[in-house]
C-alpha cells in the first residue's frame, strides 16, 4: 500500500511527525521549525511530490494551522502536511523556491491571517487595500463600519 511506504519514508527523515489517516488522504503533522528541510526532502524524494495544489491556513481560536496539499504528477499520491503555529506571533519558512506557486498563496495568507513567511522574496499585501488594518479571516476580526451582520 503506497501510504505505508510514504509513512516509513517520512518517519525515517522526520521522526517527530505524527500521522492521521481518518480522512481521505494521509495527514502529517510536523513542526514549523523543521518544515523547510522536510519540504525539500519531499520534493526530491522518490515519490516526486512536485505539485502543490492548495496552501491555506485555518484559525482554531487557540492557535493557527497551516495546511499544504501536495501531490505527485507521476504517481498520483496525495498527502496533506499540517503545521501548528502560535497565534501571537505566527512564523514559518517559505517554500516559494521549491514550488513557485507558493509565492502568491503565501502573500494571500500573510495578509488575511497575519502569518509571516521568513525569506519570502516579496511579502506584501496582494488583494486588500494598502491601509487595511487587521487580519480579516481570523475569527476575532470585528469591523462594525463595513460588515453588516445578518
Amino acid at each position: 500500500m503506497a501510504n505505508e511506504e510514504i509513512k516509513e519514508y517520512i518517519s525515517s527523515i522526520q521522526p517527530t511527525a505524527t500521522f492521521d489517516e481518518t480522512g481521505e488522504w494521509l495527514n502529517i503533522l510536523t513542526e514549523p521549525s523543521s518544515w523547510k528541510s522536510f519540504a525539500k526532502e519531499l520534493r526530491h524524494s522518490k515519490f516526486d511530490f512536485d505539485y502543490l495544489f492548495c496552501l491555506t491556513c485555518i484559525d482554531w481560536k487557540t492557535h493557527l494551522t497551516m495546511v499544504y496539499h501536495l501531490s505527485s504528477t507521476t504517481y498520483r499520491n496525495t498527502i496533506v502536511v499540517k503545521a501548528n503555529l502560535d497565534r501571537a506571533s505566527p512564523e514559518i519558512e517559505t517554500v516559494s523556491d521549491i514550488w513557485r506557486t507558493a509565492e502568491f498563496h503565501e502573500r494571500e495568507v500573510f495578509e488575511l491571517f497575519g502569518v509571516v513567511f521568513i525569506n519570502h522574496p516579496d511579502l506584501r499585501k496582494l488583494i486588500l487595500t494598502d491601509d487595511f488594518e487587521g487580519y480579516p479571516l481570523r475569527k476575532d476580526f470585528e469591523d462594525p463600519i463595513n460588515m453588516i451582520k445578518l
Binding site: L128, T129, N146
Partner: protein, 181 residues
C-alpha cells in the same frame, strides 16, 4: 391609418418640417434639437467589473444589438465617452478608480447602475468587509436596473429610459423632486 415614413420621422423629431418648393424648412428650438441629438448618440465606456459585464457584452452582440439605439462605439477612454454603465460590484479598492473615471468624463455625462451589486451591494451585502454597498455612494446615478444579472432586454429598456430622460430636458434634481400635491 398607417403612418408613412415621413410622418414617423416627424413624430420623432422635435420641431416642424415644412415642405416648400425648392427645399424644406426646419423650425425648432435649440434645446429640443440638442437634446434629441444627444440622446440618440450616447457612447458608452467599457467598464465591466464582474458578471453583469457578460450580459452587457451580450447586449452589444448581434442578437440584442444596442447600436441600433445609437450606442454605436464603446470607447475605452473616458474622455470620449458619454455614459458609464457600471456593470458589476464595486469594492473599496475600486472606488477611487471609479471616481477618477467619472471625473475624467466630459459633461454632459450619465450613469447607469446595472445589476443588484451596483444598486446596493446585491448578494454581497451582509458579512462582507470590502464591498461598497451601492455605487451611488461614490457617483450620482441616473438609471437603476435590477436583476442578478439583468436580462439584455432589461438593459435595453434602461437605455431607452435614459434617452427619454434626456429628451425631456429635465435635470436629475428636477426629476427627483416630489410632485406638489
Amino acid at each position: 391609418m398607417e403612418l408613412t415614413e415621413k410622418e414617423k420621422a416627424q413624430n420623432e423629431f422635435p420641431g416642424e418640417i415644412i415642405d416648400t418648393p425648392g427645399g424644406g424648412i426646419v423650425v425648432s428650438s435649440f434645446d429640443g434639437l440638442i437634446n434629441w441629438a444627444r440622446a440618440n448618440s450616447l457612447w458608452p465606456l467599457t467598464f465591466a467589473t464582474s458578471c453583469c459585464g457578460i450580459e452587457m457584452m451580450s447586449t452589444a452582440s448581434s442578437k440584442y444589438d444596442f447600436s441600433r439605439f445609437g450606442f454605436e462605439v464603446a470607447r475605452a477612454t473616458p474622455r470620449q465617452a458619454d455614459v458609464i454603465i457600471i456593470a458589476g460590484t464595486i469594492v473599496n479598492k475600486m472606488g477611487p478608480v471609479l471616481k477618477r473615471l467619472y471625473d475624467q468624463m466630459a459633461d454632459p455625462k450619465y450613469v447607469i447602475a446595472m445589476g443588484a451589486c451596483a444598486i446596493s451591494g446585491g448578494p454581497f451585502f451582509y458579512n462582507t468587509y470590502s464591498v461598497v454597498k451601492g455605487a451611488d455612494h461614490i457617483i450620482p446615478v441616473d438609471v437603476y436596473i435590477p436583476g442578478c444579472p439583468p436580462r439584455p432586454e432589461a438593459l435595453l429598456h434602461a437605455l431607452i429610459s435614459l434617452q427619454e430622460k434626456i429628451k425631456s430636458g429635465l435635470t436629475r434634481e428636477q426629476i427627483r423632486q416630489p410632485k406638489e400635491q
